[in-house]
């Protein structure tokens, strides 16, 4: 039997604005905070993405591409802001390396959602961005390549190395030096 004989059913795509917000604002916010590492900017970035969707989204004829459109737009907005702020970091050179059997994560049940997000935030940005897309709304490798404008081979290499880093971080346990709370706002 082929591995793809029983694929996951396609996720239904809401067509109204409210439905799209309900479906995507959380994963988009999580993607945004993984990019800018600041709650304030992540919220603005997410809001700006939906603002653009409200004004330009009707141009998208294919409803199945809503997810890609939103994530691509958010990523491009982020790159635009970062370029303007001249904070571009050089991308790491890609290497094709042997996949070492990373230590299996221990005590995974000790991690809650924020603990996993904290672990993901510790991954180098080059690997973190595709990995967040991989885990948020199950982006396929082709969708990740399209959002990040990267060749498929590069995406695969970064996903593989990112996952190794994630396993390594998780294997060290849920207590880490970085406090996600510092990135997060407290609402009154």
């Amino acid at each position: 039997m082929g591995i793809n004989d029983n694929p996951a059913p396609p996720t239904s795509v809401p067509s109204d604005f409210r439905g799209i917000v309900e479906s995507y604002y959380q994963p988009l916010y999580r993607f945004a905070i993984s990019l800018c590492r600041n709650d304030f900017e992540a919220q603005d970035l997410t809001q700006q993405t939906f603002f653009l969707w409200a004004s330009r989204g009707h141009q998208l004829r294919d409803g199945s591409k809503v997810k890609s459109w939103l994530f691509t737009t958010l990523y491009r907005e982020f790159l635009g802001i970062r370029k303007k702020n001249s904070r571009l970091e050089p991308a790491s050179p890609e290497e094709f390396e042997k996949i070492a059997d990373a230590p299996a994560p221990v005590q995974l049940e000790d991690f809650d959602g924020d603990g996993v997000l904290r672990a993901l935030m510790k991954i180098e940005e080059t690997y973190r961005t595709p990995l967040m897309l991989f885990y948020l709304k199950n982006h396929s490798y082709k969708q990740i390549a399209a959002v990040l404008n990267l060749p498929i081979g590069t995406v695969m290499s970064r996903l593989s190395r990112g996952k190794q880093q994630l396993k390594q971080i998780l294997s060290e346990g849920p207590d880490g030096p970085e406090d996600l709370g510092a990135l997060r706002k407290e609402s009154r």
């Binding site: 604005f17 409210r18 916010y29 009707h58 809650d112």
Partner: protein
């Protein structure tokens, strides 16, 4: 393709993803024959599913949903091709007309103003351009320079004496910074003000507080202005300053 290379390609592959990429096809072919690779991939899928599930449980601010819906409540997708064409034509016509009369003004996000304001007030030798403890004088100075002068000063903030003010431009938007001593004179609080119509996005309902390093800030808006209050005196100082009775 050997097992290690197959792992690299399968590592980024969800069950159900397109399998027409030659390397993926080769990896999947090897997967069907290689028992150890299958065991590895089963573990990998379990791990991926666990991470996705945990990530879905991680924090996302529910207030953001309201901000987005509120911002866009009057914007909806236009049904029907003809209606869309008509709407685009009418919008273009109106837009061209308006552009002839008014040039659209620049707008900024809270994050941009916050970043610019913090960049200035966090400097070690920061001093306002105009120093006076007289709030009326501060308003006059700002007004004379075309700034936002009719802003509201919360009661909690009034407990500290004004220090002075400064005007900056953030992406073409005029922003006023008014500095106050804390009530105990142990530090300063900086009120950053700009026109609400220049705000890109919708302000939160009530004030929101955020922390960035040693700097705590609150942002909110009234009918006329958008405000950011920032200090390095901590959360208590911000909360005291936000009291308005």
């Amino acid at each position: 393709m050997n097992r290690e290379e197959a792992k690299q390609w399968l590592s980024g592959f969800h069950k159900g993803d397109p399998d027409d990429e030659p390397k993926i096809t080769a990896a999947l072919t090897l997967l069907e024959k290689d028992e150890k690779l299958q065991e590895w991939w089963n573990r990998e899928q379990e791990f991926d599913s666990w991470v996705s599930q945990k990530l879905d449980e991680s924090y996302a601010p529910s207030a953001l949903r309201y901000r987005i819906l509120n911002q866009n409540q009057n914007t909806s997708r236009i049904p029907g091709f003809a209606l869309r064409v008509l709407a685009v034509a009418a919008t273009l016509f109106l837009f061209v007309g308006l552009v002839m009369i008014f040039r659209p003004g620049p707008r900024v996000t809270y994050a941009e103003v916050m970043q610019a304001g913090l960049g200035i007030v966090s400097q070690k030798d920061f001093q306002p351009d105009h120093i006076t403890p007289d709030m009326s004088n501060i308003r006059q100075w700002i007004q004379a320079r075309g700034g936002t002068s009719a802003f509201q000063v919360l009661t909690g903030l009034k407990k500290g004496e004004p220090i002075g003010c400064k005007i900056i431009q953030v992406r073409g938007v005029m922003v006023s910074i008014v500095c106050f001593h804390s009530p105990d004179h142990k530090g300063a609080l900086h009120l950053i003000i700009f026109d609400r119509t220049k705000l890109l996005g919708t302000p939160p309902i009530g004030a929101s507080i955020t922390q960035k390093g040693k700097w705590t800030s609150a942002f909110w808006a009234d009918n006329q202005y958008s405000y950011i209050l920032v200090t390095d005196l901590g959360m208590n100082a911000i909360q005291s300053a936000l009291k308005n009775s």
